[in-house]
């Protein structure tokens, strides 16, 4: 009887937590009329910002994946000196305040650094450029991909890689035909996580580039310049876009568990 009482108390606490998350989101969803949402969705400024947000986050995710996925395999398979330190460094962006991360990146890509100079040679300045936005997004979202991919490779029995080697495959062929396909679901969910996390970044991006405006910055601008009523419809539309990817991720994860 006592235990049941405890269960009830804990369940009620849980219900309150759910309400805390769902309440504001649902409130927001119903804050604007469908008409208003439709109008906002057609607004070129909104459309452009969403395209920019999706594009830069996608580009950052894919570009950094080229290095992050092989590196995750190294992390999963080998012991090396200072490995714990390396793992900690990878998780660093998760704990650094994002505005501070933005400041750090700004110092790294401003015009007098080698990266900034490389950008100038290619004819652009990272600051206020989609390339800069991409770097800021990748900085804060990279840990999600690396950790997911590493867990994926860890779940592949090392014996399968050894077996492939004894069957005459080169190490590269083993990686592409055995390790990568078997870790693929984890890697894909890592890619989506990184992509979604990059899209929703505000703090780091706003320091690198106020313009061109990604959607989180646009929402902020509409709020500060025009007020809550103008920020709400953009927020709703952006949340819907992000939800699509969130749903894909959940579906993917539930499939992984079944198989």
């Amino acid at each position: 009887m006592k235990k049941q009482g405890l269960q009830w108390a804990f369940s009620i606490l849980g219900g309150l937590l759910l309400l805390f998350v769902l309440g504001p989101v649902l409130g927001l969803m119903f804050s604007s009329s469908p008409m208003k949402l439709f109008e906002t969705a057609k607004d070129p400024e909104v459309k452009n910002s969403i395209m920019l947000t999706l594009g830069t986050s996608m580009a950052g995710t894919l570009l950094f994946a080229l290095a992050a996925i092989p590196f995750s395999w190294i992390l999963a398979r080998y012991q090396f000196p200072l490995k714990k330190l390396v793992t900690a460094v990878i998780d660093l962006p998760v704990v650094i305040p994002h505005s501070a991360a933005g400041i750090a990146i700004l110092g790294f890509i401003s015009r007098d650094t080698w990266l900034g100079k490389a950008g100038s040679l290619a004819g652009f300045n990272f600051i206020g450029h989609p390339a800069g936005i991409m770097l800021a997004m990748a900085f804060v979202s990279l840990p999600y991909l690396i950790n997911a991919a590493r867990d994926g490779f860890l779940s592949v029995p090392e014996r399968l890689e050894k077996a492939a080697l004894t069957l005459g495959a080169s190490p590269a062929r083993v990686f592409f035909t055995v390790s990568l396909p078997l870790a693929w679901k984890n890697i894909l969910s890592g890619l989506i996580l990184m992509f979604a996390r990059g899209m929703s970044e505000f703090g780091a991006v706003v320091i690198i580039a106020y313009h061109p405006m990604i959607t989180p910055v646009l929402i902020y601008e509409r709020f500060t310049s025009f007020g809550l009523k103008y920020a709400q419809p953009v927020s709703v539309i952006f949340i819907l876009v992000v939800l699509v990817f969130f749903l894909i991720l959940r579906l993917l994860l539930s499939n992984t568990k079944k198989s």
Binding site: R159, L160, K162, A163, L165, A169, S170, T177, L182
Partner: protein, 348 residues
């Protein structure tokens, strides 16, 4: 022919040291030892997954110590089969034939499936296969690359008795077809039933190498003897008594033997079925008569194992009728009668 010379390797807390032996073409070579003896490390070193800290490996007169795995022509079948779960059986089998013409691959797969009796499996995914089927697929996948030497890591360990005899027959068939095999096991019956040569390992060292006959009839030390299931095996020193050689064990048991020189060191071996038990001292031709107390009676496939505490612990093997007739049970005092001809002295 595979020749190992002084192979030594330290790996993750396991160690093999100074391993030397030769596997001739056509041998069915058994590496026999308890778990932790270093058998699997040795196998992975031969396969090339590990490189030795020192020592050399030669295959057909060519030094392969530092040759990449892909070029070794040595095939390894893992204990848990290590079939790629994301590929159909067909693709698993084709894995080692990468880069060959597709017609060639198709023919080889068909021929291999026929040879191993898995013609109906190529389109299946590994998750739908039974343990026995996985075993055959793993063998086929390795054999398809025509390895000079087939390495098997505990191929029968995870199988029930019925399945085991089927796979044993299959391994014998593969060996008869001319395949050189190195097979790792901890089961001496498996070693006896399959091997043409046996190396007994413990603590990372090879203790004895020889034919099953040599190893089972002349075990070189107590570990080998006990590991291959011989129970009455004692280190002894020969003392002459009235010109008759008597083997004296460390615990002071005196056993008359047929031949031996004063001070010769070695082992005596007595088969359990050669020990005649009686409730009273017999006036018989047996020259060795000891008394002791029964510690334990155990059922075995061959009868009953009677474990008796005398100066040494001795195991006798009796039939069910003797057991009942003599009322053999724990705590009973009993006489053991052993002819000198039943005692084998192996000089060190």
């Amino acid at each position: 022919m595979l020749k190992l010379t002084g192979v030594t390797k330290d790996f993750k807390g396991f160690r093999i040291s100074d391993i030397s032996f030769t596997v001739e073409k056509g041998d069915y070579f058994i590496l026999l030892g308890p778990s932790g003896a270093g058998k699997s490390i040795l196998l992975e070193t031969i396969a090339g997954l590990l490189s030795p800290d020192s020592g050399t490996l030669e295959l057909n007169g060519k030094d392969i110590t530092n040759l990449p795995i892909q070029q070794r022509k040595v095939g390894l079948v893992f204990q848990d089969h290590a079939i790629f779960p994301h590929m159909k059986v067909k693709k698993n089998l084709a894995f080692a034939l990468h880069g060959r013409p597709s017609g060639f691959i198709r023919e080889r797969i068909a021929a291999m499936c026929k040879r191993l009796g898995i013609e109906d499996l190529p389109e299946r995914y590994p998750s739908t296969l039974s343990g026995g089927e996985l075993q055959r697929v793993a063998l086929a996948r390795t054999l398809i690359q025509e390895p000079e030497i087939l390495l098997l890591d505990e191929p029968l360990s995870s199988m029930d008795t019925r399945l085991k005899s089927g796979v044993r027959a299959l391994l014998r068939q593969i060996h008869r077809e001319g395949q050189t095999i190195i097979h790792v096991t901890h089961d001496y019956e498996e070693a006896l039933s399959l091997g043409t040569r046996i190396a007994v390992m413990d603590h990372g060292r090879v203790l004895q190498t020889g034919t099953p006959d040599e190893v089972f009839h002349y075990p070189r030390n107590g570990f080998v003897a006990h590991f291959i299931g011989l129970k009455n095996f004692f280190p002894v020193t020969i003392r002459m008594s009235n010109a008759i050689p008597v083997a004296v064990t460390d615990a002071g048991l005196r056993i008359q033997v047929q031949q031996g020189q004063e001070n010769a060191k070695g082992f005596v071996m007595i088969r359990g079925e050669d020990i005649v038990l009686s409730n009273a001292a017999l006036d018989s031709s047996a020259t060795n008569v000891f008394s002791g107390r029964i510690r334990e009676v155990t059922v075995t496939p061959m009868g009953y194992d009677i474990c008796i505490d005398a100066a040494e612990t001795i195991h006798a093997l009796v039939t069910r009728s003797s057991l009942e007739k003599m009322n053999l049970r724990e705590g009973v005092n009993i006489w053991m009668n052993i002819k000198a001809t039943a005692v084998k002295f192996i000089e060190e």
